[in-house]
């Protein structure tokens, strides 16, 4: 657990929203809001394309931090805010770093940023490290 110190960065996660993902997310969450699948409707609200669902931003942020934690800890609290829209064709990069360590409780600040450097969704996660859990990138 030597890398669990304030300032340690999580492994970035890159997300490239696709129209299929958005459609399937609307379907599985029974979300009929046209702004997520009807490009002509989205244009009437001034958007350049259909919008990534707010909950999908959250799901990607949670995926990023959980992929980094792996099975060495469990997230107890998680929060995010939707600040700026994203559309298919954007490239979103989720980064994050540890901002506090209190015993076995670790707090991570996350940010989902588009290709222009605009923050689409900031987030925060608190996880409890499993006893004896070595730490690192769970995907490697």
């Amino acid at each position: 657990m030597s890398d669990l110190t304030v300032g340690t960065e999580i492994t970035p996660l890159v997300v490239r929203p696709t129209p299929i993902s958005l459609f399937r997310f609307s379907a599985v969450t029974w979300n009929p809001h046209r702004i997520h699948f009807d490009e002509a409707y989205a244009a009437t609200e001034g958007y350049p394309g259909v919008l990534v669902q707010g909950h999908l931003h959250g799901a990607w942020l949670l995926s990023a931090v959980r992929r980094w934690i792996g099975d060495r800890g469990r997230i107890e609290q998680f929060a995010w805010q939707n600040r700026h829209f994203a559309t298919p064709g954007d490239t979103l990069t989720i980064t994050g770093q540890i901002v506090s360590v209190d015993g076995d409780l670790v707090e991570v600040e996350l940010s989902e940023t588009n290709q222009d450097g605009v923050v689409c969704a900031p987030a925060r996660a608190t996880f409890r490290v499993h006893p004896g859990g070595a730490f690192g990138d769970a995907t490697r």
């Binding site: 997310f25 009807d38 669902q53 707010g54 959250g58 799901a59 609290q77 998680f78």
Partner: protein, 161 residues
Amino acid sequence: MGGSDLIADVWSSAQGALGSTTRVDLGNVRDLDLQRYAVAVDGSIDGGAAGLSLQLYLSSVLAWGSGPAEADLLADGNASDPFSGFDVAGLRLMAGGQELQFHRDLQAGMNVVLDVTLTGADLKDTKSGRLLVLLVQRTYSDEHGPLIECRETFLGREALG
């Protein structure tokens, strides 16, 4: 009701609904639904994420059961009653974000009930017009107690003319 008063009327109505809780029986969490949720989330992620977002499944679903009939949806496609107990009367709603506490892990086969409470309603003047900020508290529980607590912010604007 004039169009320009709509958001104020909804705000006033929301004030009267603050604190009242509605219980919804969500029934059995199906493994197939969790798998489909994971596929939809992971489809845009470089390298996938193997269903790591499943703890957000319950609080991502907007309607349980069959949902409202198509004819009952608003012009933007949203349901008029997205919070199981409070009619937003045609405002354009966007999800603002969530704060969640995960007491236990969600698993297929759980029988879940949802308690929904409107906990806040604030009308704000912004550069782009009036904005109704609604706070909704949701608690998802099974027979053993709370699974997930979620505080969600919704942002409401008047429908476009």
